[in-house]
């Protein structure tokens, strides 16, 4: 149960982060904003590691990790640059939908690799979620159009 609550909480911070970063980017720059995130993140994560992960230091755990996994940061940096690129160039409703499709396909494959079982129900479930996301995106799109028309009429 706690794992699902944590996953839910992750969704909360996933939404708040770009709102705050977006506001800061308008005042400074994308790179300065990302840099700040990594300064705060680096300091706090290292502090947490030194407090809670102390007993592990010195057991040679660094050599346990395959070099490939250290590349996570390069994927992470590339991800930030990609998000900056597409978020201002595609319609708002696709910002959630397209990455969701990419995540679903990769997620199912990763789970297949991790648990060695292909889950058809998860794939169907993700497909149904996609339908729900699409319907709401269309509703939002129509409302935005109506609002714009109303605003333009107000101006005239």
């Amino acid at each position: 149960m706690i794992y699902y609550i944590l996953a839910l909480f992750m969704g909360v911070i996933v939404v708040i982060t770009p709102v705050l970063n977006g506001q800061l980017t308008l005042r400074t720059s994308t790179y300065k904003t990302a840099h700040l995130s990594f300064i705060v993140g680096g300091l706090s994560a290292t502090a947490i590691f030194l407090i809670f992960g102390n007993s592990i230091i010195g057991t040679g755990f660094l050599s346990n990790t395959q070099p490939l996994y250290y590349s996570s940061i390069f994927f992470g940096v590339f991800l930030i640059l990609l998000m900056n690129y597409y978020s201002s160039r595609i319609p708002a409703f696709l910002i959630v939908i397209i990455p969701f499709v990419g995540q679903t396909i990769t997620g199912v494959l990763v789970d297949y690799y991790l648990i060695d079982k292909f889950s058809l129900t998860k794939l169907i479930g993700a497909g149904v979620i996609l339908v729900g996301l699409y319907i709401n995106a269309q509703i939002e799109k129509r409302d935005r159009k109506k609002r714009l028309i109303k605003e333009n009429q107000g101006d005239n």
């Binding site: 996994y69 996570s72 690129y85 679903t104 990769t106 993700a126 979620i129």
Partner: protein, 139 residues
């Protein structure tokens, strides 16, 4: 091209979470989070240097803008803790519920300086379908 980059971003999100999760299991979750952010700091320091941009001015910075950095650490810790237990797809599904609730609360009440946009009742249709999808995932 632009749409493909958004699709690629979705793939990368899973890989970043997965790699951090494996690193967390093989060493320490806290080490994985620390490694990720310290190396990110180094990379963006180099980028700023190459672009001849200065660092952010901390004196003028409101306290809330420090939160994304902390949240980023939480994201890695949570992904590392949860992915080995509930899997990548379930992590994504619950993440989506959290995202849906939060974005609607922000819009409905106009939180974090965003314009107030009350919840459309019509959207409950879409949300019901999303919920149905998540129930199917549990079957």
């Amino acid at each position: 091209m632009v749409k493909f980059s958004a699709f690629l971003a979705g793939i990368l999100i899973i890989f970043v979470n997965y790699f951090n999760s494996v690193m967390g299991q093989e060493s320490s979750v806290f080490f994985a989070a620390s490694y990720y952010h310290v190396s990110g700091f180094v990379i963006f320091t180099i980028i700023l240097f190459l672009r001849k941009e200065s660092f952010i001015d901390f004196k003028k910075l409101q306290l809330r803008y420090y939160l994304p950095g902390l949240f980023s650490v939480f994201t890695i810790l949570i992904a590392s803790f949860t992915m080995p237990v509930i899997g990548a797809t379930m992590l994504m599904a619950f993440n989506l519920i959290g995202q849906t609730i939060t974005s609607n609360l922000i819009d409905h009440f106009g939180l974090l300086g965003m314009p107030k946009r009350p919840l459309e009742k019509k959207k409950l249709i879409g949300y019901s379908i999303i919920l149905l999808g998540i129930i199917i995932m549990f079957l």
